[in-house]
Amino acid sequence: MLSKKQAKMFFLGGTAVFFLIFIGMTVDTLVNGVPKYTHASQIDDQVRLGRHLWDSNNCMGCHTIMGEGAYYAPELTKVYERRGPEYIKTTFNFPGGWRPNGRNMVEYNFTEQEKEALVAFLKWVGESDLNGFPPKPSVQLDK
């Protein structure tokens, strides 16, 4: 039967091996993968400001982006493609808060530049290669 010492070796050895593989894959992902998959060269000051606003307002606390966030409000990865820039911009400073289908968005007070920045960020996200996410529905009842 397995002894306590062997069990310990299994734990330490296995952890070390898989940790090293993980680090190797991480380096490859960051160096070779991410720049290509996310068009990192297109991250300019506008996209950066947009991401900062996305972050500091916790938009992810209602929406998902790349499928991550909360499930109260729509997935926004492809919102630029779906709605276009003008529609997106009207949602922010809507008096009393944008309330399209009975769910309330927070009323913001963004400047024109900030709105543009958020649009630029959402456009950048939508152009990233996400391995096929979000999936294409088999039927399009709403088109």
């Binding site: 972050d55 209602c62 982006i65 997935e75 391995n131 009842l141």
Partner: protein, 453 residues
Amino acid sequence: MKFKSQKVAYYFFALSMLLFSLQIVYGFIMAFAHMGFDGLHEWIPFNAATATHKNLLVVWILSGFMGAGYFIIPDESDTELWSVPLALLQFYSFAIVGVIAVVGFHVGWFEGRKFLEIPRPLDYLVALNVILFLVILLMTMFKGKKRTTTAWVLTSGLVFAALLYLPGMIWFDNHTVDSFFRWWVVHLWVEGVWELIMGGILAYLLIKLTGVDREVIEKWLYVIVGLTFLSGILGTGHHYYFIGVPKYWLIVGGIFSSLEPLAFLGMTLFAIQMYRKGNKKHPNKLAIYWTLSTAVVSFLGAGLLGLAHTLPGVNLYTHGTLVTAMHGHLAFWGAYASLVLAIISYSMPLMTGRKIFDNTIGHMAFWFANIGMIGMTMAFAAAGVAQVYMERIMGLEFMKAQLEIEPHFFVLIIAATVFSIGVTLFIINFLKFGSPVDEAIGQGEEFSALQTS
């Protein structure tokens, strides 16, 4: 209780219970908002409620882990805690940082990083606090006469949990990279180092409650945490499928995360096996219930319901839907919430000398909470699966699908009420213990004599 200083644990457990009850309040706020009743929107918008719900969860569980550390490490190392005043300082600073964070969420001071919403400046305070906690534990271990495997596994889990918090504090311009490292915290916590903590606490409880030989228990502990890292480290890939990184994560993440349930299955078999081998003479029935339920429900919530959506082909459709919330609830409940309730149920009678360990309220708390949570999981499952079909397969707009699934949130609220009754009863029992007393020192040690071999 063997040592006077173990009483410090009580403060952390009390804080845990307080934050847990607040967490539930915010759960209700969100459940009502999902049903269309968002009357609080102006004061507590959904994004403030969700940040509060998730962070209170993390903080009360961490508080429970810290209490467990302060209770278990002196006992295992056979010595008083290194410094009680510092431990109290650590407690108060921890509570204060927690309060600031929660108040901050309500005035829009947060970061849009799921589970890590606490703003960066506070992160530094959290880090300092945790360093103090770890120094106290490590110093206790080094001055102690004994260094057991259980103590090591528990402590290294806590140390690595602290280290893994750091990559989550770096700012990256690229959203994908930010997300990549956010999972180093969130995933490598719950499916990595927290399992060390879980294994350590479960091993301690099983040694105490079943009387089975420590060597046997600790051997299996190594096997289980070995399985955890074997699958869990590369299993991180299941969060990398669709965030803008190479396709090899689909294969690696799919294979290794599918193996993750093995570690949880290991915990289940381990606990049940040890219980059957044991002498069943320990009078603290409630602690045994919670210990066994942790081992079983964690496998259902994390293992089975995790497996249900971990393959890339399935996850493509369920990613970012209420299916995730279904799994998130039962996994956190089964593995970590129940674990904290188990160590509280075990330690409170020893700290206070009150023999509340087999009463009706306690048993009712156990069944209401577990049945309620299983009901909540089913409500989320129904809502999530319906959402996937309508939105992702039939191409309905998000809000149209949401209006269709509102009734499931009514069911959620009913089940959540049952759950909350259970939690309330648990807290009533907790309050009945009162605070720890010095007379309890030495009491309860008679059960150590019940060792089976």
